[in-house]
């Protein structure tokens, strides 16, 4: 899994001054935050349902092997095949091998973050197989050679004009030469092109929102219906997903399906909810004749039994991204990981190593809104803090911060020295102020005064004044 979080600060700074991006990110508030609040308010018992969802996911993780084996047994009984991939490389090799066995030249793909995580497309291309993304957002990203900036809204960072330009540049080879400007027209054009690709595809690859152990079904939610066309038209359907997506029963899946779209887009239900259960049966008129599920571990099982296990409850709704004030201001690309925002800040270091993802769990004000909206109540701030602890233990935190914290702890343990230091700091701040305000500070304070002033203390420290007035 490729992670480029080292440049987070620079990318975030650029994002803050990117007018097009800032305009695009404004959509989050109305399109996601207010929509979720409305959906939650409309459904009686929403909070109790979150408790149940948390319990279902926690139970599943406690018995993960058992549920996965049951899932595998049911898929096999239906005539499908389950493949276990320990890491990204194995997962890519399995998919490429299956595609080659079918002599595939083009494969259609329905949006799947796991295939982004394992970087499947470059592997397919290297094998001479053309992957075609069919989710509209992913299709745009693919044309632009970009990565998704949101786990459910991959092009949230783009404006309509940018999409129009991309189509105008890429679509003439299909005979579409006019630069379109209206949303419906853009969608129609993409749909016309994608329809051709659907019909020509040899293999269809989808992700899965859930795997149902008791039925052997892979469940996918979309609003475009592209997953159904991806899964049903080609002769082979390959599901690529993480091992944590399994749930024991259809009833459990039902509970989670009621929470997922409400938390994600504020919809009561998505336009399409598809249950892919094995290959085509004798009596079926259509459907793939071969059905494969690639279960990707890629670091997940190493989270079991650790302080990060709860992260595996995640159902990828994106609510934590939408409600994160950092994500909402800098967008997803700044994080340099396919999983951005709070869930990415915990998951990315778990999958790729904290040494590669150091900024991610730190770039949070710990406001706690992510946890407050998480449908499965993952304590995201607590787990980001655990990552900071791992960094601190391994001396990966920046040296000035380590010294600063060490100095502060030493002062806090020595009250007389602490009072002296605070008294001195108070004097220095007041001495630096003009009419009570400080406009520029040196060192760590320079960051503060880069974007705001500092009102100096009005007088000596509270403890000094209290002693003088009250005698302690």
């Amino acid at each position: 899994m490729q992670v480029e979080s080292g440049a987070f600060v620079e990318k975030a700074r650029a994002a803050l001054t990117d007018a097009t991006l800032q305009h695009a990110l404004k959509h989050i508030k109305h399109g996601f935050v207010e929509a979720r609040a409305g959906a939650a308010a409309r459904l009686p018992g929403f909070e109790a349902m979150r408790d149940r969802a948390r319990d279902i996911r926690a139970h599943t993780l406690a018995h993960l092997a058992e549920h996965l084996e049951r899932f595998e047994a049911n898929v096999t009984a239906l005539g499908g095949h389950v493949h276990w991939a320990a890491d990204a490389e194995e997962a890519r090799a399995i998919v490429v091998r299956l595609c080659r066995e079918k002599g595939a030249r083009t494969v259609t793909k329905s949006k799947s973050m796991v295939t982004e995580e394992i970087e499947l497309n470059p592997a397919l291309e290297a094998a001479g197989i053309a992957p075609v993304e069919t989710d509209l957002g992913e299709y745009i990203i693919q044309l632009r050679h970009e990565k998704p900036s949101h786990i459910i809204a991959p092009v949230i960072h783009l404006s309509k004009d940018q999409v129009a330009d991309t189509f105008h540049a890429e679509h003439p080879k299909y005979g579409f030469t006019e630069r379109l400007t209206e949303r419906p027209a853009l969608v129609r054009e993409a749909r016309a092109i994608l329809r051709e690709r659907f019909l020509k595809a040899d293999v269809g690859i989808t992700g899965a929102n859930f795997l149902v152990a008791e039925t052997g079904s892979a469940v996918v939610v979309t609003n475009e219906g592209n997953a159904d066309l991806t899964a049903s038209l080609p002769d082979t359907h390959i599901v690529v997903t993480g091992i944590e997506k399994v749930v024991p029963t259809l009833a459990d899946c039902h509970t989670l399906l009621r929470l997922l779209p409400r938390s994600a887009t504020g919809q009561d239900i998505t336009a399409y909810v598809s249950f892919f259960t094995g290959p085509k049966r004798a009596a079926d008129l259509s459907g793939p004749s071969s059905f494969h599920v690639v279960l990707v571990d890629n670091g997940r099982s190493s989270m079991l039994g650790t302080e990060f296990e709860e992260m595996l409850r995640c159902i990828r709704c994106g609510a934590c991204l939408n409600h994160c004030p950092v994500y909402a201001n800098v967008g997803g690309h700044a994080y340099g990981s396919v999983y951005p925002g709070p869930m990415g800040a915990v998951l990315t270091p778990s999958l790729a190593g904290i040494d590669k993802a150091g900024h991610l769990p730190n770039a949070s004000s710990f406001c706690g809104r992510c946890e407050a909206v998480c449908p499965v109540r993952i304590p995201l701030p607590k787990m980001m803090r655990h990552w900071r602890e791992r960094e601190f233990e391994r001396h990966l935190s920046p040296a000035p911060m380590r010294w600063g914290l060490g100095l502060w702890a030493a002062l806090a343990a020595r009250p007389a020295l602490y009072r002296l230091a605070l008294g001195l700091a108070s004097r220095l701040l007041r001495g630096r102020a003009t009419k009570g305000w400080i406009g520029r500070l040196p060192l760590a304070g320079a960051g503060w005064t880069g974007g705001r002033d500092l009102r100096a203390p009005s007088g000596g420290t509270f403890q000094q004044q209290w002693r003088r007035r009250r005698g302690g």
Binding site: A12, S365, F366, M401, L405, L422, A425, W448, S458, Q465
Partner: protein, 258 residues
Amino acid sequence: MSASPESHGTIALFVTCLVDLMRPEVGFAAAALAERAGFRVVVPEGQTCCGQPNFNGGDRAAARRMAARVIRLLEPFERVVVPSGSCAAMIAVHYPSLFDDADALAGKARALAVRTRELTAFLAEAGFAPEARAGAAPVAYHDACSGLRELGVRAQPRALLRQAGVDVVELAEPEVCCGFGGTFCVKYPDISARMAANKAADIEAAGAATVAMGDVGCMLNIEGRLHRQGSAVRVRHVAEILAGHLSDEDFAEDDSAG
């Protein structure tokens, strides 16, 4: 309503390092309110920092040592009041998580957690009714994240302000962080400043001349940003408004050092 001091017992005022250094007037307002609510106020000698910067910075060992110190310091007191949702949550929510069950301090950490209150939650629980002032100007209210989400402080400051005759004006997005975030504001100053600017815009749009809040961290951040952009909106701790300590001059006696 002013009851005679000591009629309800004693509280320990844990002022927090930010109040101690940056806004001593908030500590005095908090003490005045607790006294008016009928409590004797003690400021335990030797109090320093609750350890939150180290806790959130990943320095768990130091955070535990700092917590142990505070637990021992506050052990003699039946009630502990903190004029900050963030530091109160550190004690009431996070201290117990720092000690294993086998640790001798685990029980004491839990006991302290139960005895600790954020200031407005304490006042509301004590049934304190601030004196109503006629003709008080409306005030916008900013919820500090820790108080709001870790301690559920939402209704109490609003109710107290209304009892004091102050109309509370709601901000457009009261649940959105102002960008202070402790060390976050120095580690990621650009993002923090943008968040502060967004909050400042919401505060200006609310139209009140004053914005009240319960945490000095948010105060420094928000007033600093408002001042930078030339706004005339005043930033006050909710304790200052409730206590009627509305002017900087109230506590200007030590200005000579400036």
